[in-house]
Symmetry: C2
Subunit: 246 residues, 2 copies
C-alpha cells in the first residue's frame, strides 16, 4: 500500500491546551492529534497545521495534513480518530489529497471570529468562548473603524512582538462587526495574519467602541507601523478560527 | 444592623462540580458559594437552594436564599461575590426578601431545558452543554409523545430510585420539543420534579424519536408507574435549570 496524504478538518475548544503547536510535556492540539494517529496506526506522523493557534484559542475550521502508509481506510479515519480523541477535539472530515497539498502555503484566505460579551455579569455557559468586557460598546463606530482596515496594508501596528515573518503587509478582505443582544462579533477574513493580529485589532477596536478613539485614529495607528500605537491585546478565549479557503 | 434574608439568582456551568448540594471534600455549587460569602463577610451562612441539581447539570436560573447579619450592602453583593467566585459560577441578582421566603416551598413551577445534538461528529464548543446522540430523531413523534405527559399524573415511571418524596404526582404545565439544525430542545415546566425526572423523560422520548416507541407507549409507561418500563436516563450534561417561578 502506497503512502497517502490526508487532509483533516479539525474543531477544538482550546481552553485546556497550550495552543496548536506541539511542545514537550504540555497538552497541545497538534500533540494530541499525533498521539491519536499513532495509537490508531502505529505510525508517528508529522501533522502539519495550517494555523498555529495560540493557547486558549478555539477552532471550528482548522486544517491539517499528514502523510501516512497505513491499511486504515481514509473513510474510517474520522470515526476512529474521534473515538481516540478527547471530547474537546474533533475531526470533522478526512480526505485524501495530492502529495503536493501544503496546508500553509496553499491557503488563499482565512476567517477568524472574535466574540465580546458586554453584559455586566459573566455568561457562565459562554465564558470559555468570549471576552467578558462589561459595559456598552458603540458597534456603529467600531464597524466604521473596522472598515478602515479592509484592503492591503502594512499591519505592523497590529503584530505582537515575536512575529517572525519577513513582510507585515497583508490583505484584509472583510472586517465586519455586528451585535446580537449583549454579544458583539468581529469577523475578519484575510490572506494571512500576523502574530496576534486579530486580537490586537479587536483590542484596538474596543477602544473605539468605548469612545477613546475614532476611525481616524485607526488610520493614524495603521500608518504609524508601530505596535505601541495600537490598543491592548484582547484575550485568547474570544478568538475562533472559523474557516480556511484553498 | 439587623439580619437580612437575601435571595440570589445564580447561573453555573455544572461540568466541574459534584452538583448543587455541599459534600465534604468535593467541589459543589453550594459549597463554593458558601465559601465566597464567608470570604466576603466572615460569616458562615446556610445557603438554601431551590433545586438540588445533580453533578454535571447546569443552571441559568437557580435560586437560593440565606440570612446574614453583615455590613456589606445588598446592592454590592453581586459584584463582590462574582469577584470571589470562579468563572463557571455567577450571581445574576441579589435582592432582600422577607424572612418568610422559602426558596423550595414557595416555588410555583420550574422550567428545565434539555439539549440533544444529533450530528455525527461531537460539537466541541457545545459538548459540555448537550447530549451528543448521533443519528436523526423524529421531532414530530417526540413532540406528540411529550404532549401525553402534560397534565397531572403519577410520574413514578420517570423517577430514579432514591427519590425520597412521599408523592410522585406532579403537574407538567409544558413539555415542548423543537429542533434548530442538528440540535433538539426539550422544554419542560412543572410544579415540581422527581429525582432525574427530566433526564428520564428525555431518555424515553429519544426512544420515541428513533422509532422504538410511539405516543401510545408513553401512555402505557406512565400508567405502569414503574421506572423499569421507561427508557434509559439521558446524561446530565444536556440538562439546564432555566427558571423558577414564585
Amino acid at each position: 500500500m502506497a503512502a497517502r496524504k490526508i487532509k483533516l478538518m479539525i474543531q477544538y475548544d482550546g481552553t485546556c491546551y497550550h495552543g496548536w503547536a506541539a511542545q514537550p510535556g504540555l497538552p497541545t492540539i497538534q500533540g494530541t492529534i499525533c498521539q491519536a494517529i499513532e495509537k490508531l496506526t502505529g505510525i508517528t506522523a508529522e501533522v502539519q497545521g495550517s494555523s498555529r493557534t495560540d493557547a486558549g484559542v478555539h477552532a471550528l475550521g482548522q486544517v491539517a495534513a499528514f502523510t501516512i502508509d497505513s491499511p486504515v481506510p481514509t473513510e474510517n479515519l474520522v470515526r476512529a480518530l474521534n473515538n481516540l480523541l478527547p471530547d474537546d477535539i474533533a475531526i470533522l472530515r478526512a480526505v485524501e489529497v495530492p502529495e503536493t497539498f501544503d496546508p500553509i502555503s496553499d491557503t488563499q484566505s482565512k476567517i477568524y471570529r472574535y466574540t465580546i460579551y458586554t453584559g455586566s455579569v459573566r455568561p457562565v455557559l459562554q465564558i470559555r468562548y468570549c471576552w467578558h468586557r462589561p459595559g456598552a460598546l458603540d458597534v456603529t463606530s467600531m464597524a466604521e473603524a473596522a472598515a478602515v482596515l479592509v484592503g492591503t496594508h502594512d499591519f505592523k501596528s497590529f503584530a505582537s512582538a515575536g512575529d517572525q515573518r519577513l513582510s507585515s503587509v497583508r490583505t484584509i478582505l472583510k472586517c465586519n462587526v455586528h451585535s446580537e443582544g449583549e454579544f458583539i462579533y468581529f469577523d475578519v477574513q484575510a490572506d494571512g495574519f500576523l502574530y496576534n493580529m486579530v486580537r490586537n485589532i479587536v483590542g484596538t477596536l474596543a477602544e473605539v467602541g468605548r469612545g477613546r478613539w475614532t476611525a481616524a485614529d485607526i488610520q493614524r495607528i495603521l500608518a504609524a507601523q508601530n505596535r505601541a500605537e495600537a490598543g491592548p491585546i484582547a484575550p485568547a478565549s474570544g478568538l475562533c478560527l472559523m474557516e480556511i479557503f484553498y
